[in-house]
Amino acid sequence: MNEITLIVNGTPHRTRVSDSALLLDVLREQAGCTSVREGCGVGACGACTVLVGETSVSSCLALATRYDGANITTAEGLDENDDVVSAFADCGAAQCGYCIPGFVLMTRELLAEHPRPTSEQITEHLEGNICRCGTYPEIRTAVSTAAERRSPR
């Protein structure tokens, strides 16, 4: 067992984890972040996305011990007035909503790198996120809307 501290949405969580514990399970079971979800478990769907600093990570493939001291953002840490969150809500991007936290966090990473992404950049950045309900058109609109709100022309 190892004692680690994860700074989750600004709050330090001191917890004991085994050598093989995955960040996904620690965030869900010990930090109460149930917006971090398991879909595929192999890095391909994005449901388990978290941001470490500004960088997206598949928590299903991440050893928790590696993130000792790291600043982690999950969807719980975003305000409902956040420009990305509100754009997703306003554009009706969620049907069941299972995939949406992952898409929202990937969008934050995208907009940090490209404040006005082209449609190709949106596709390329979100290509590793899967929505079983198929709300892709609404998700794309939400990303453009968020970019517009964040940095109006």
Binding site: V42, A44, T49, S58, A62, E124, G128
Partner: protein
């Protein structure tokens, strides 16, 4: 440390290791975590080319300005790995050591004549990538050797390149065929991925050739290298056919850039 631990396993980004553990294929108990070792994430560039530490991520190779400038073929190939989130974690050392025949970066590293720096208690040796992939999922690394750097020669001025990846299941899936072409001087270098049990390399001299002659010569040199493994991404016949289409596609594309330069 690698020589003192029982059954050690190097832990790079962990994106391949975690999947093998979940699939019940891998049982390792002693991981040697490279994240704690300083200096392994550095990229340096000089006149000869690039030197990248093993813990540089695939995304780092994709986005780093020096890599894009000095070896755009490598940068392009790393951009084709998985998706941006996996690329944020996957390391270039792990990508090579994983030794899978379908990985996207190896064809580019073959065409570019990159070398792997391998280190153990016995010292450091330099392994050309062209001799690195020995057999199905087997590399030239000894069990106690670490990839400590990848060296990529600069793409010569006036050279042209193409990286082409075909996927038969979904856009960002593993390739069913991938190819890297570098035309430097009059030499055409070709790296093939997913078309044999190991990534493969061929080259030929294209002096005096037209684009069509170069395509024909390319198809001739790759023919004996093809030995596709049939799987959900395609049959042997399908992949053999794809090999011809993708190589033609890449050679023609690079040739056109050469003409326009």
């Amino acid at each position: 440390m690698m020589s003192t631990v029982d059954n050690p396993m190097v832990y790079g980004g962990g994106t391949a290791i975690q999947i093998l553990i979940k699939q019940g294929i891998l049982f390792a108990d002693n991981f040697v975590d490279l994240a704690g070792i300083p200096g392994l994430t550095e990229i340096t560039a000089d006149a000869a080319g690039l030197r990248a530490g093993p813990m540089v991520t695939a995304r780092g190779m994709e986005t780093d300005d020096r890599v894009r400038r000095v070896a755009p073929l490598a940068s392009t190939a790393y951009r084709h790995v998985a998706n941006p989130r996996v690329r944020n974690t996957a390391s270039i050392g792990g990508n090579l050591a994983h030794g899978d025949y379908r990985l996207d970066p190896p064809p580019a590293l073959l065409a570019l004549d990159a070398t792997v720096e391998a280190t153990s208690v016995r010292g450091t040796r330099s392994l050309p990538v062209r001799q690195f992939f020995v057999d199905f999922q087997q590399t030239a690394l000894a069990p106690d050797e670490l990839v400590t750097a990848v060296r990529i020669p600069a793409q010569p001025t006036g050279s042209a390149y193409r990286f082409v990846k075909y996927s038969s299941l979904s856009a960002n899936d593993w390739p069913c065929a991938s190819v890297a072409v570098l035309i430097a001087g009059r030499e055409v270098h070709i790296g093939l991925g997913a078309l044999a049990p190991v990534p493969r390399y061929a080259s030929f001299d294209a002096t005096g050739m037209t684009d069509q002659a170069a395509v024909d010569a390319a198809l001739e040199v790759i023919a004996p290298l093809l030995d596709p493994i049939p799987d959900v991404r395609g049959s042997v016949r399908y992949k053999r056919r794809l090999a011809q289409v993708i190589v033609e596609d890449a050679v023609r594309g690079a040739w056109k850039d050469l003409d326009n330069a």
